[in-house]
Symmetry: C2
Subunit: 286 residues, 2 copies
């Protein structure tokens, strides 16, 4: 069942890597895509490359009130501010979604800031790249990727379906539903903790010749160590408690493994490796 | 300068993923490649796929004494045992090299076990895959990869050059030289520590639905968590001291980052991220 009809007017706020990739995917499917971002260069690029149909480097009131489906692809704090300042411009019936990497700290706040009849249904596309800006936007990053819809008790079944449908339209592989609390716990582990580990691997040793000796293992574990420090420090702070909890679990496991190595307890070490192999093998299935 | 001539007789001992990939690369370049491995099925497969010219599932004395360049691609302890048992079969002038992932604990031992005039020059190809066996062998894994020659004071300049040349012939991108001690320290970090971390990430949390939510970050950091428990526990034990030292450095850095997050010290956290980004960017150059 296709809920989103092709004539729906889509507005994307924030035309960076993810906003641009959403625009690209949606325009290719025949949707009319308008964008608002704070940078005329990004608008010019996106118009020129036919990533969007229409764009503004300011809050164009008509574009906002005309929009029927809005995707916010901004930093979390900027997103909350934007809605508080301009949320009254949305028309009744508009559905708003987002791509933000943290949920509890923004979802309730935004749902409470919006006018009656304008519904915010949160989502998190588990896709990205270690580069930034609309110039790097690429809708192929959604292929085979996971998409998580994050409703609260305030959301209607219709908005949840529309949000799932948006994920399908853009080509995501697997669409799941989590509560904001479950989402933040999970994301503290699979996304934020992995970024901390990658950074730690790059910063704990200052061997500048490493690049001459390294193999793919180290390259893989540090790909995400090229990190946007403003975005990620904001994400870490907004999900601090969940991240610290996951970090502790990981450090504890490191200490357990360290003891096994130190004590040459190869039997228990092999058991851990067999468990790891078994669990990881699930990730190769599509 | 090409030191290795095309008529040299190459023997590969151990026809697994790496031995098979060496054979494939060398045979493609026109070398006559013989293999000895403990499994007739692997020999049959390799003959059938034209990965080798000749093969034995036992220690064929003529194949050993005819060989002029020998590559050992066995587990470390099996390698040492093999040389102690059969090393007397090598002819004077033979150059022996290997692909073993640890060096101090085997190099001196093997150099002392070999007869006069048979020279062992250690090497470590920094290439691999998380699959095993000659059936998965693939000489493309050497493209763009690093190759490390690991001489001791006993090695002649000629053998070192031959070993470097072998790396060039097989298509490695960068060829470096490290002492066994430097090698083991470095490998404890870029290879062994990364495998421990990947295993720890998979074993510290038992959320079986993770695969539904995960993004590329977690997939990248755990690719090597599918691990051959026999080989890697042996490698860890043989390089225990260096690995534990690197592990401690990493855990200490984790604790530093944890404190920065806990205390919301975003300025120092951003500094770490900028350093990490700067260092990692070097790895993208070819």
């Amino acid at each position: 069942m296709q809920i989103i009809n092709k004539n729906i007017k889509i507005l994307i706020v924030g035309l960076g890597l993810i906003g641009g990739s959403y625009a690209k995917a949606l325009r290719k499917k025949g949707f009319y895509v308008t964008a608002i971002t704070n940078d005329q260069k990004s608008i010019d690029y996106a118009l020129n490359e036919k990533i969007i149909d229409e764009g503004y480097d300011y809050v164009n009131e008509k574009a906002v009130s005309d929009a029927e489906l809005v995707v916010f692809a901004l930093y979390p704090n900027v997103f909350v501010e934007w809605v508080k300042q301009h949320g009254h411009l949305f028309s009744k019936g508009t559905i708003i979604t987002d791509v933000t990497g943290v949920k509890q700290c923004i979802v309730y706040d935004i749902q409470n800031s919006l006018p009656q009849g304008v519904e915010f249904i949160a989502a998190h596309p588990m896709a990205g790249k270690e580069v930034y800006g609309v110039e790097n936007s690429d809708d192929k990053i959604f292929e085979g990727a996971n998409y998580i819809v994050v409703p609260t008790e305030k959301n209607t079944p219709e908005a949840i379906e529309t949000c799932k449908d948006l994920g399908k339209v853009m080509g995501f592989n697997r669409i799941s539903v989590l509560s904001p609390e479950e989402h933040d716990k999970m994301i503290g582990f699979v996304s934020q903790l992995t970024h901390v580990i990658a950074v730690g691997l790059m910063t704990c040793s200052d061997n500048e010749h490493l690049v001459d000796y390294t193999g793919d293992s180290f390259r893989d574990l540090t790909r995400i160590a090229r990190i946007n420090e403003n975005m990620w420090s904001e994400l870490f702070m907004l999900n601090k408690d969940a991240l610290l909890k996951q970090f502790d679990t990981f450090i504890e496991e490191c200490n357990t493994l360290r003891t096994m190595i130190k004590e040459e307890d190869t039997e228990r070490l092999k058991e851990k490796m067999r468990l790891s192999t078994k669990r990881r093998s699930l990730f190769d299935k599509k």
